[in-house]
């Protein structure tokens, strides 16, 4: 199964932006479950786009102004949801933010 871990946090999570993953990435890469991912610049650097009737509409900021914002993501591949939960729980961001585990559509 492939899952994306969406790492979310409120404003206070910004202070962790340059923390790195405290060896988590190396450990998961070694284990062979990490397929990719990255930390994201803050929502204030985001540009949101829509195309309506052929016109490109841009706005400053993220697509939704919510308290929790996406701060990073990882693509993992593992046996099942229990393993995905265990992998996500070991991520340092789980201790201060929230991690949403989303299965990928696999055809």
């Amino acid at each position: 199964m492939k899952y994306v871990l969406l790492i979310c946090g409120d404003e206070s999570a910004a202070e962790h932006a340059n923390d790195g993953c405290d060896g988590w990435s190396e450990e998961m890469a070694e284990r062979g479950v990490l397929r990719g991912g990255a930390g994201l610049r803050p929502p204030s650097d985001a540009t949101t786009l829509r195309v309506r009737e052929g016109e490109v509409l841009l706005s400053d900021g993220p697509f939704a102004e919510t308290k929790e914002q996406l701060g990073g993501f990882c693509l993992i591949e593992c046996a099942d949801l229990d393993e995905a939960i265990e992998i996500a729980a070991a991520h340092p961001a789980a201790a201060y933010g929230t991690i949403e585990i989303r299965p990928l559509i696999e055809l």
Binding site: M1, Y3, A79, D80, L81, D82, A84, I85, I101, P103
Partner: protein
């Protein structure tokens, strides 16, 4: 259909449904297919058993019939290579003579832990277990949860979809995950037991087999998790309730309240087993809601006569339970215990306070308990109104008849 065959199919449905579905899920990985094929197998049993007689091992017969059906369906649907591999996989697994497997509980346990996975909403876990493991209909489950049938059908479909899409594993969790996975399983078993103990649907007030199934599963759990006092507490609670089953209904199938029950008909062995289990659990020093409820049941079960019941102790235990799991139903029970320990006026004051909150609107046991206290206070006209209100809300025939008798006895 001749009555014996009909009865055999009914019994097989209650006893074998969960095992057939659980085994089919393990083979096919497809919950909807497993349920469909189990249903087809039971339909086939009705026709075949009438013609050929009831097989010696109905469970094995049904599992084989369901498996054959699943292989047919998968073969017909096998259009892509992935599907063909799936069918091949099923056939391969099935070739080991699995249809003749003895009645191993592990598939059912696997099923219940998967149904109770914490990634599913609690309501979905309970509903899914009752549907797939106990074979309860969507209507019955909807009534147990006081929601509409369509909403319940949607809830079940969503839960099964999430299991499939999110990759929730079909297994008994490894040892280190068991403590966090257990509470949901216990809640489900207790609901299952209650469904058997006081059925929410139909004319039968008690369905012993469901209660027996819950006890059987609880025994397996206690064996699997001997260090978990709440599992033992739940089993003790079930045994102490179940011990009274023979005295709970009279010959006409009517409800006999605790104080009128023939205590000689209580199952002394089960009471002893329940009390011993509870003592062992309490010694671990980690009390929880099931142990407290079992302690209340033990107060009743060990009283030789109704007047020997330690009501002050029961009132204390209900107060403790209310702190562990705040609930208006627990408060109602505490009010009844207080009424027994300290007089009907004290109990009525608590019940009227509860009534004003509206938290139990539509729940027949509130006016029923209120009616009893009013009767004891000599407020006969108000008691009669309350009995009538309770009868209007009761969901089983036996409860309605009981309330009608109480009303008539007011004179």
């Amino acid at each position: 259909m001749t009555p014996p065959v009909e009865a055999a199919v009914d019994r097989a449905f209650r006893e074998e449904w969960g095992q057939v579905v659980a085994t089919l899920i393990r083979w096919t990985g497809d919950w909807d297919l497993a349920e469909e094929c189990a249903q087809d197998a039971f339909a086939l049993a009705v026709r075949t058993w009438r013609r050929d007689g009831v097989p010696r091992r109905p469970g094995a017969w049904l599992t084989t019939a369901a498996r054959n059906r699943a292989v047919d369906v998968l073969r017909r649907e096998a259009t892509g290579a992935a599907k063909l591999r799936e069918v091949a996989g099923v056939l391969e697994t099935v070739d080991d003579g699995a249809g003749d497997e003895p009645d191993v509980p592990d598939d059912r346990l696997r099923l219940i832990f998967t149904c109770c996975h914490p990634a599913l909403a609690l309501e979905a876990r309970v509903a899914l277990t009752l549907r797939t493991l106990a074979g309860l209909g969507t209507t019955e489950i909807a009534r147990a949860f006081l929601v509409g049938e369509q909403a319940m059908a949607k809830r079940l479909a969503r839960a099964k979809q999430k299991i499939r899409h999110a990759g929730i594993p079909y297994r008994v969790p490894p040892a280190h995950l068991l403590p966090e996975r257990l509470p949901a399983v216990l809640a489900v078993l207790y609901l299952l037991f209650n469904e058997g103990y006081s059925a929410t649907a139909g004319a039968d007030l008690v369905r012993h087999d469901l209660a027996a199934e819950a006890i059987r599963l609880a025994r397996v759990l206690v064996r699997l998790m001997p260090d978990e006092p709440e599992a033992a507490g739940l089993l003790a609670l079930m045994l102490l309730h179940h011990a009274r089953r023979a005295a709970r209904l009279d010959d006409a199938g009517d409800l006999v309240v605790l104080e009128d029950q023939d205590r000689g008909r209580w199952d002394a062995d089960r009471i002893a087993e329940g009390v011993a289990l509870l003592d062992g659990a309490l010694r671990r020093g980690r009390p929880g809601p099931y142990q407290v409820q079992a302690a209340i049941a033990a107060c009743h079960a060990t009283a030789a006569r109704p007047e020997d019941t330690d009501w002050p102790q029961i009132a204390v235990l209900y107060a403790r339970l209310a702190r562990l799991v705040p609930s208006p139903v627990v408060e109602l029970n505490r009010a009844v215990a207080v009424g027994m320990a300290y007089g009907p006026a004290a109990g009525l004051a608590l019940i009227d306070g509860l009534r004003e909150t509206g938290a139990l609107a539509g729940y027949h046991l509130l006016p029923a308990a209120r009616a009893d206290l009013l009767r004891r206070l000599g407020r006969t006209a108000e008691a009669a109104d309350a009995y009538r209100e309770a009868a209007g809300l009761a969901t089983t025939d036996a409860e309605r008849r009981y309330l009608a008798r109480r009303l008539a006895a007011l004179g």
